[in-house]
């Protein structure tokens, strides 16, 4: 072996010692390591490893509900078209939009990705935009950009001009792990050009977002506010270095603030509102919850475009799509009995990953979907916001979430990501191409876990990754 390796062993030992010391000093008692079962989604887990792994309905759903699932699936998958059209239930796309169907971003109900080069399309991701300042009302999570609104639409129907052209360059850097393995990271640099209504301005705040996978979301909505808030520790009272803050966001239906659950910054309280927001922002489609799409005052032609009915997405279709998004089943684990995988599961919990990626939750009653009720689930998220460090910060606050705060992402289904769709990216902007890269981007409250990960032996790291890939 090259001599360089000798130099790395000492820091590794120091690192591990430092971490262990830090853990022992923490006021919080060490949680016992729990066994992670095969069925992450309780009785609604499915046994599938193909490209359809994220596309199956909750198996406990009664047959009589499957029609709603199928209809919702169709409206999630098939493209919306320009109004007016004979396809009246599915017209009204745009005039400005990011894509024409939910599935184009949530590829096979899975993840989106960044474009590979300047010529590739940006369909499965989008760019949020705002300007600094205090939002006018409690209902506003941001101060929308006066010209470009809350989101940049880089497609337009015929006769209209897209707001912008979106491209990326990448800054590359190398991280060396304790065993000498070098990992290349890439940080996307957003390039905006060809503005339809003039330059966006130097104070514009932007945030790149890729589409997340769709599995198990009904369960995450079924967890109660009380359950989730019990785990919050906004001022880090227990001194473990991990805060866990709940976002408080506007619930349009109930006209009040509620716990934020969905979106990369937990900026939406319910799947229904998340879906309505995506219809409006991503596809230019109005619904009962979003009476207008993302056209601003200066975008006169956008506001005057033909619509596909008022609203364009009927209550019935919004309800069926929302039903669909509640009921995509979580796949069962593979290789969960493998000793290396079991060891990796223990490492996941001892090096600190599970401090935020909370493995286990108990779902209580779900009156509208009783087949989801009373299940023990393993999503690996606390649904809370955490400071993830400056390297991940988008410097764009949304409601209570600061620029460096992101909601813990669920990890169930992680190992099937590439089986579902070969092109994908991890983290909010899809910068990470592998699970290892994703872990290495963790900072802030996750810094000590990241450090622990870097310090793992080759065998331990492989065990941890085998565990993550078994999810």
């Amino acid at each position: 072996m090259p001599p360089v390796r000798l130099g790395l062993i000492t820091p590794l030992i120091l690192l591990l010692a430092a971490c262990q010391g830090a853990h022992q000093e923490a006021a919080k008692p060490t949680k016992p390591v729990i066994t992670i079962p095969t069925e992450l989604g309780g009785d609604n887990s499915v046994d599938v490893v193909s490209t359809n792994a994220f596309s199956l309905p909750s198996p406990n759903m009664p047959f009589t509900e499957r029609l709603n699932f199928s209809v919702g699936n169709s409206f999630f998958r098939n493209a919306w078209v320009i109004a007016p059209s004979t396809t009246t239930a599915r017209d009204g796309l745009g005039p400005l939009f990011n894509t024409s169907a939910c599935q184009n971003c949530h590829i096979k109900d899975g993840r989106g990705h960044l474009p590979v080069d300047h010529n590739d399309n940006t369909v499965s991701m989008l760019v949020r935009v705002s300007v600094p300042g205090t939002p006018a009302t409690a209902a506003d999570g941001i101060v929308a950009h006066p010209t470009y609104g809350g989101q940049l639409q880089d497609f337009a129907i015929n006769g209209y001009t897209p707001e912008v052209k979106i491209q990326f360059d990448f800054d590359h850097s190398i991280v060396t792990l304790a065993d000498g393995t070098e990992v290349e990271l890439r940080k996307p640099q957003l390039l905006l050009s060809d503005f339809s209504h003039g330059d966006i301005g130097s104070d514009a705040l932007t945030s790149v977002r890729i589409a997340p996978p769709m599995i198990g979301l009904g369960y995450l909505e079924a967890l109660t506010e009380e359950q989730l808030l019990a785990q919050a520790d906004p001022d880090d009272a227990d001194g473990d270095g991990i805060s866990g803050r709940a976002n408080r966001v506007w619930d349009t239906v109930n006209s009040q603030l509620a716990l934020g659950r969905f979106g990369w910054k937990a900026e939406q309280p319910t799947l229904q509102q998340q879906n309505a927001g995506a219809f409006a922002g991503d596809m230019g489609l109005t619904s009962a919850l979003n009476r207008s799409d993302d056209c601003t005052q200066p975008q006169t032609e956008c506001r005057q475009a033909a619509n596909g009915g008022d609203p364009e997405v009927s209550d019935d279709i919004l309800a069926k799509v929302t039903f669909y998004t509640h009921n995509l089943a979580v796949p069962k684990r593979r290789n969960s009995d493998d000793p290396g995988v079991i060891a990796g599961g223990a490492l996941f919990q001892t090096i600190g990953c599970s401090d935020c990626h909370t493995p286990k939750w108990q779902v209580g009653e779900v009156p509208e979907m009783p087949w989801l009720a009373n299940q023990t689930i393993y999503p690996f998220t606390d649904m809370l916001l955490h400071d993830m460090g400056d390297a991940l910060s988008d410097h764009r606050p949304v409601y209570a979430a600061a620029g460096d705060e992101w909601r813990t992402q669920p990890l169930w289904g992680l190992g099937l990501t590439s089986a579902v769709n070969g092109e994908f990216g991890f983290m909010h902007d899809g910068r990470a191409r592998t699970i290892t890269e994703a872990i290495l981007w963790h900072g802030g409250e996750a810094e000590s876990s990241r450090t622990n990960f870097v310090g793992l032996s080759t065998d331990q790291r492989n065990q941890l990754l085998a565990f993550l890939n078994s999810l």
């Binding site: 047959f63 029609l67 699932f69 199928s70 493209a79 078209v81 004979t86 590829i107 092109e423």
Partner: protein
């Protein structure tokens, strides 16, 4: 059958008052025979289609094109009846995407009309593979200069869009009929035979590529059906049938009932009827280029009834009859069996009404006309079928309970 008849005869000899009860395994074995029969017919009809397509390509004319189209319609008759085997049997469902995917973006494959919208944002929607040597889609760059069955199979769902469909019955349908430009008005696709003239007289360019594509895509279909026939063939110790008959009887019955229930309600009533009706969208029509949809639905339903009744009318007119779920239910709960029998007649009548409307000599109405906004008569026909399929599905759940299956949720990992 033979063995059981012998036992039955023996039983009768021993005591004339007892009849031998039908076992779950008898029904499970018959189900595999039934599947083999339906797939065998599907393969035979696909081969006839292949032969007629070859005749058409050998001498393109309105007549040979019409013959190929007729063969396609005929091929759909047994194939649609195989769909009752799809959802409960992974061996079928895994290959279904390659055999029967829809709706497909026409612009992915061939020329489309100038006002064709496709799926905006899906660059595959306007890829026009016939015109390309190299297909670039996102990060993918694929050599499409040689149109082989394997290449076409690899293009399905390219870039993650489920509308990028390159193979199966509907790709062939599009290549034979072309776009249906009539919206929700009467009329099907009307592709000219000259699209397949190699050399002089070729319309819409790329005729040789189109001929190559049609040949390759038909070969793939025949290969896939051949594979499925092999999976249901008796006497092979390694195929799906061998695994299936060794499953615990309750698990096999769960798969059988899950298969027909999923097709009846989620797929046929939901995806294929409710969606098309709610969207008023011919793009959501199953056999949208040929206007064959009413028959697609009719034979889908027939496949469900076949599985319950343990019978199948072969293409040659002869009958397969095996031990059936109907018999098994009658032994356990005759009241339920009677109800199901009645419901099957009701559902059949609703599907028959759909076919009758299409075949009405005075005022024929195709499925894409029925789903037009404001077509009250068409909507009523479709809603009646959805209601009957809902009632059928409830009874299928009742059948499951009667057979001791509390959770109609098969474990589909065993093959």
């Amino acid at each position: 059958m033979k063995v059981k008849s012998m036992f039955l005869a023996l039983g009768l000899m021993l005591t004339s008052t007892t009849t031998l009860a039908l076992s779950s395994q008898d029904v499970i074995n018959s189900y595999t025979d039934l599947a083999f029969n339906v797939y065998t017919d599907s393969l035979a009809e696909a081969k006839k289609l292949q032969a007629d397509i070859q005749k058409f390509l050998d001498s393109p004319s309105p007549e040979t094109l019409a013959q190929a189209r007729y063969a396609w319609r005929q091929a759909r008759v047994p194939y649609m009846q195989t769909e009752a085997f799809r959802f409960g049997n992974p061996v079928v469902d895994n290959i279904d995407g390659q055999v029967n995917s829809w709706p497909l973006d026409e612009g992915f494959l061939d020329y489309v009309s100038s006002d064709y919208e496709g799926e905006l944002g899906n660059s595959g929607a306007t890829a026009f593979i016939l015109s390309l040597d190299t297909l670039r889609l996102g990060a993918n760059e694929i050599d499409v200069s040689e149109l082989t069955p394997e290449l076409l199979a690899s293009l399905n769902e390219l870039g993650g869009s489920e509308a990028n469909i390159a193979t199966g019955y509907h790709a062939i349908e599009f290549l034979l009929w072309g776009q249906d430009l009539n919206g929700t008005d009467p009329g099907a696709g009307n592709r000219p035979y000259t699209d397949y003239l190699a050399g002089e007289g070729c319309s819409h360019q790329y005729c040789q590529r189109r001929r190559d594509y049609l040949t390759a895509v038909t070969t793939l279909l025949v290969n896939d059906l051949n594979y499925l026939v092999g999976q249901w063939q008796a006497g092979d110790s390694n195929n799906y049938r061998a695994k299936f008959v060794k499953l615990a009887p309750q698990e096999a019955l769960t798969r059988i009932l899950f298969g027909i229930g999923s097709l009846a309600f989620g797929e046929l009533a939901g995806e294929r009827m409710q969606v098309a009706l709610e969207a008023n969208s011919p793009e959501d029509e199953q056999d949208c280029f040929s206007d064959n949809t009413v028959f697609a639905h009719y034979y889908d339903w027939q496949g469900i009834a076949n599985v319950y009744l343990g019978e199948y009318k072969r293409v040659d007119g002869s009958f397969y009859k095996g031990d059936s779920l109907a018999d098994l239910v009658a032994e356990r709960n005759n009241g339920l069996a009677q109800k199901m029998q009645h419901q099957i007649s009701q559902t059949h009548a609703a599907l028959q009404a759909l076919v009758n409307a299409y075949q009405d000599p005075n005022n024929p109405m195709a499925f894409d006309q029925m789903i037009a906004e404001g077509n009250v008569e068409g909507a009523a026909l479709i809603n009646q079928i959805i209601a009957e399929l809902a009632a059928t599905t409830e009874l299928i759940e009742g059948v499951a309970k009667t057979l001791g299956i509390t959770n109609l949720n098969p474990n589909l990992d065993a093959g």
